[in-house]
Structure formats: C-alpha cells, structure tokens
Symmetry: none
Subunit: 207 residues, 4 copies
DNA sequence: CATGAATGAGGATTCATTCAT
DNA sequence: CATGAATGAATCCTCATTCAT
C-alpha cells in the first residue's frame, strides 16, 4: 500500500517534470521570490517571469502554496541526489560527512537565487507550508542519519551519542552558517568555510 | 556621548515597562500570535486579548511591526539578563556554556507560547522586521562570543578555531533543537536534551 | 515633441474611453458622489453603482483620487469641446462670450448630479487633488482668455483692461451664480439667468 | 421673537468672547488649519497650538464643526464691522463699493493665515458646515445688497439690473481674485489689483 | 474649570483564484 | 491547452469625543 502510494507520487512527479511549463514555472518562482521577496512574489509576477498567463499556473499547480512546495521539492532533489551519490561512493563516514557539507555549501554558493529563497524567503511562509517543507527535508535528514549511524557502527564516531541530537547539531550548524552568509549578502566565500566547519563537527562526533 | 545614548534608551525602556499597559499588550501579543499564528494575529485580536481598545495599542506602539519588535526585545531581554548573570558568576567557560544552554532551554520550556512565537511565528515576518530582530539577537550572540573567547584564552577551548564558525555552530545547534521541539509540539522534554547537547558541543570546542 | 506628448495623451484617453467599464465607473462616481457626498462616496459604493466588483475599479484607476480626477477630466471635456466649437464658429467676441455663458449654464442645468459634484463635492477634496483639478480647468480658462483678447484686439472690449482680472471676473461670476443655484437646490431655472449675466458682463468689458 | 433670538445669540457670543480661552482657541484653529491644512488640523493640534488640553476644547465648543464655524463667524465679523462703518460714512454707492473691495483685499492681505483658511481650507469642509458658513456670509452679502440698491435708487447704477445677479457678480469676482491670489502663494500684491477690479465692476453696474 | 488617557467605528486596497472565450 | 479580465474578502490605523481624576 505504502509502496503503491510512493510509486503513484513518482509517476505524478515524472509526468509533471516532463511537461516543459511545469519546470518553467518552478524556475520562474525561484527568481521571482529571490528578486521580490516572499510576500511580493505574487502569482501574476511568477506567471510573467515564466512567460505564461496567470490562469496557466493553475493548470499545473493546485494553488500558490503548491508552487512553493514544488519549488522546495524540486530543488531539494539536487541535494538528495548528490548526497545519495556520496553515500554510495564507499568512503568513510567522516569523508561522507565532509563531502556532504561541501555539497551543501557548493550547491547554494552556485545559485544565489536558490540560497536566498531557501534560507530566507521560504521561511516566511506560514506554519502549514513549513511543515510540508520539513517533511520534504526529512529525506535529506534521513541520509544524514545514515552517515552518522554508519560512523557509530564502524567506530569512527562516538557510539554513545544521541543520533537525533547529533543530526540536529550538524544540520543546525550548516543551516545557520548558510543563512548568515545569505544575510550578509554573500560578502565572503561560503565554500571556504567548509574546512573549519568539518573540523569542529568531526571533533564533536569523534569517538 | 555613546553612554548618554545608552542611558537614554534605558530610560525609554524603563518608562515603557513601568506603564502597565505596555507589558500587558506585549504579553497579549505573544499569546495571540502563538494561538492564531503570525498572519492571523490581527491588531484587534491582540487588543481584545490585552483587554484594551484597538486604538489604545497605538498609544504605546507606532504600528503593528513595532509590537512584534517589542515582543522580541522584551522577551529576548530575559535571555540576555540571565546570560549576563551567568557570565559574571565567575566559573569556567565550559560551565558558562553549559549554563547558557540550560538557560535557553529552560526559558523556552517554561513558556510554550513564547517558544512558538520566537521559533516559528516571528520568522514569518518580513525581511525588514527580521533585520531588526537580528540586531536585537546580536546582543545575545556577543555574549556567546565572550564565553568562547574566554575559553580559548584560558586554554579550555581550541585556540585555533574560528570564533564566528564556533558561535554559529553553538547557536545553530541550540536553535535547530528548539525549533524541532516546538514543531513536534513539545512531545518530549526539551531540558532533558541539554546534557547530550553540552557533551557534543564541548567535545567540538575542546582544546 | 510637444505634439507627440499631446497625441500620446489623446491616445491614452481614447483607449480608456473605449473601454466600456471606464466610463461606466466615471458615471457611477458622479452619481455616488452627488447622492452621498464626497466623503461618503466610498469606493465600494461607486463600484456597486457601476455594477462591478470593488477590485475592478483598480483595473481602470490607480486609486480613489484617480477616479475623482478622471471624473473632472472627462466631464470638463464637454465644456472645453463645446467652447472650442463656439470659438471656431466665427462670430464676434461678444457673441462667443454669451454662448460660453449659455453653454456653461446649459451643461450644468442638464445634469444636476454633475453640477452638485463640480460645484460642491469635488471642492472638498484635498489640496493635492484640487491642484490637479485646477490644471485641468486651466484649459477652459485659456479659451476664455482667447475670447477676451480677440474682443480687445477688434475693439469690441476695452483695450486697456487687465485680461487676467477680466477673466477672473467672468469665471468668478459664472461660478458663483452656479454654486448658489446648486446650494439653493435648483429651485429656479439657471439658464434663465444667462441674459442678465451677459448684459452685466458685456457692460463691464465693453470698450 | 426673532429679536429675542438675535439678542440671545449676541449675549452668547459676548459671553464667549469674554472668556479668554475662547478666542485663544479660535486663533489657534486659524493657525493650525493654515499650517497643516483642513484635514490635518486635528483637534489635538488645535489644542496644542492654543496651549490647552484636548478636553478643554469641549468646554468651549460643542464639537470640531463648532470650532470651524466659530472661526468663520469671528473672523467674518471684521469684514462686516468694517463694511458697516463704510456704509455709514455717507459717500456715494460707487465709493462705498470701492471701499468695500479695498477692505476685503486689505483684511485678507494682512493676514495670510486667515486668507488661506477662508479661501482654501475651510472650503474642504463638508456640505453641512459650508451651508452654515454661507448663512454667516449672508450678513455680509446683505450689506453689499444695500450698497447696490442705494446706487440703483440714486441713479448711480443701472436701475433695471437684477440685484441678486449683480451681487453674485461682485462677490464672485472678489472671491475668485482672492482665491487665485492665495493659490499663487501671494506672489503679487493683492491690494494693487483693486483699481482694475473697481473699474470693471463699476463699468458693469453703471447706469 | 482643566486634564489627557482611553475609546472604537469606519474604509481604501491587494491579490489568489475562477471561468468564459 | 491557454488566456486574462473580473472577483470580493479581509485588515491596519486615525482621530473626534468622553469622563474619571
């Protein structure tokens, strides 16, 4: 049953992604939100940015909320896919964690619009949307848990630590650093922070 | 000159705090926002909760935005004052950090309305308000920096670490843990998490 | 250049006039203001009178002020167009002046709503709107000046008189008579006053 | 009966005028309205300008409308008293008319605040107030009628003219010239316009 | 007489969504 | 599929007036 629902969603997303206007609108939303701010990114602005009529939006999305969730879903996919590749690459848990941090910083460094949207603008959405965003984020956090557990099992990380707390520390740290960087309007290089972050976090986790 | 300005502000805040209706409205705002959500906490709801007329709000606050900033300012004051007392108490930097974490968790544990407002609702405000909130938060972060620097100077903490990154790790971790706790609707005890958090963070920072 | 700007405005106005809802709302505004008074003619009342939704108003007008200015602009156009036809009709300046007075009284006599709005209600608007209204009125006053100057040049009118003062006398007289008529709730026939007014004014101006 | 009512009002006004705060508030209202505009001259601003508390206003005036009407009443008194003196001075009707025009221009020239208030700001009041103002103005217009009738009876003025129309011409002309002068921010001397105005109006009226 | 803190009614405007074409 | 004109609900703030002191 659960599997059927999962496959159903996969099919839905694939169908959507194949329709050119779907991604066109998602990308337009990222730009419109980044340039105008969350509350000033009206549906009409997103439509204009996407080069379609206002009404067309509603052929691809249930409502405005659905656009925002789709933005997060589609863009989060990049993180998750990269992270899955990292996990499969068969190195140590420490290496995987380091690569994850680098990946996180690299993806957001390379797309300032996306960074502004995920770190600042999308957080202005109401509680309901944020709960849905969090459930999308969960996929990413589960992969992070896998790395942590792997490290604990093979003795790289402290075997007595609480995985949930550790995960919240790693994600909270990465997120806070990224948000501060966006708020400071990218005045310094985010990727250069990675070594210092790795050192601190590995220190915290190490056996 | 700087001192005069400082005293001026102290006087302003004291004058405000002494007017009973000022704090009455601030407290009502916390409850109204926590119960209705940021965007559904209309001025009239706050007024009704405070037991005053709508117009009375505007005798004490410039506009709705000013209420929100005052909420953060007044409530953040509790954290800052506690933290200042902790710093003066003359223990080790590690102890101070531990007490800071406990204080943070304790204050938010004891006022679930406040926790909901600071962790979820107030973040929905627009960029302008968030910038003002951040400048209030800075006071708190400066005190955290003091603890970290003290620990580095007396050899408790790693003397080669980047203070800004370390501060972002500590605050990001505490904030993420608190936010998750609020999102999970306080289903577990936040204060019980403190020992595990301390251990991880001290591990990360230690010399 | 000037001509291009002029044509541009003509095109803008023609485009507007051709949209049926534009004039529908302008006409509704005249009725709503005449019946409810300036300050009681809420946008929602104008919309209801026009048979459109409140929001529709804002597809055709920038704001409420813009409705009021457009009312004056569109209705003043009738005076100006008639007056231009009168001037072209090639009679003596005295005749033209007489016809202008008749035209002024006739137009306002035939539309009591409009008379109330221009003579009483629109004057309650703030200084900013009144300045814009005055600049629209200027067009009318320039045509009046043309008549006066023509009469002075061809010896019909006193060649030593001050044109500005003469124009203010003519317009002030017409305006005062019309306003008094409106304030007396049209209890007598405005057009019947024309011969007496002509006689007095021509007497004042004659060589 | 009518006389009793009249005496009653005289007594009321005399009582009021003797109370120092009454005129203090009236004068403050003129300044507050001239400096802030009609709609921005809140009761609290008038009170502050008069150096009294908001509530004190209501010990001397029924409501805000009453202040405005009193302003007009008290200030109009200057015109009427001057005009009564002119009429008694026993010269020809033409002379009286000339002196009236000069008086009108002189009083408003010498008090720019008052000129702004009577010519621009007070006209923004609602229809109801304007009707009351007009009934106060009537006293002034009756005196003007007396001059015109005197001139018609003694052969100075055209004996076939309509007194009401003639009065509206004289007042409309004076009023329009004064209003234009105020709108042009007193950039020229109002009193210098008097000779040209007299000439035109006497020409219009002459037998 | 005088004060001034408190009251609370009232309205322009925005923008997500629909539906006839 | 695509359009875009039309909809209408929903809210912050001002300010004349009151009344307890």
């Amino acid at each position: 049953m659960v599997i059927h629902v999962f496959i159903f969603f996969l099919v839905v997303i694939c169908l959507k992604r194949n329709k050119p206007k779907y991604m066109q609108i998602v990308d337009a939303a990222v730009i419109a939100i980044a340039e105008n701010g969350y509350h000033q990114a009206q549906v009409s602005k997103i439509a204009k940015q996407a080069g379609v009529a206002d009404g067309t939006i509603y052929l691809y999305f249930k409502n405005k909320e659905d656009i925002l969730i789709s933005v997060f879903q589609e863009k989060m996919g990049i993180f998750v896919e990269n992270l899955q590749a990292i996990i499969k690459s068969g190195e140590t848990a420490s290496d995987k964690l380091c690569k994850m941090i680098e990946n996180h910083f690299r993806v957001l460094s390379s797309d300032r619009h996306l960074a502004t949207v995920t770190q600042l603008e999308l957080r202005q959405s109401n509680k309901e949307i944020r709960l849905k965003i969090n459930s999308i984020l969960k996929e990413y956090l589960i992969l992070l848990d896998q790395i942590l557990i792997e490290g604990m099992l093979n003795g790289e990380f402290n075997q007595t630590m609480d995985v949930r707390i550790a995960r919240q520390m790693v994600f909270g740290t990465i997120d806070e650093i990224t948000t501060t960087w966006v708020m400071n309007e990218n005045r310094y290089d985010l990727l250069e922070q990675a070594p210092k972050v790795k050192q601190l976090l590995l220190n915290a986790l190490k056996a």
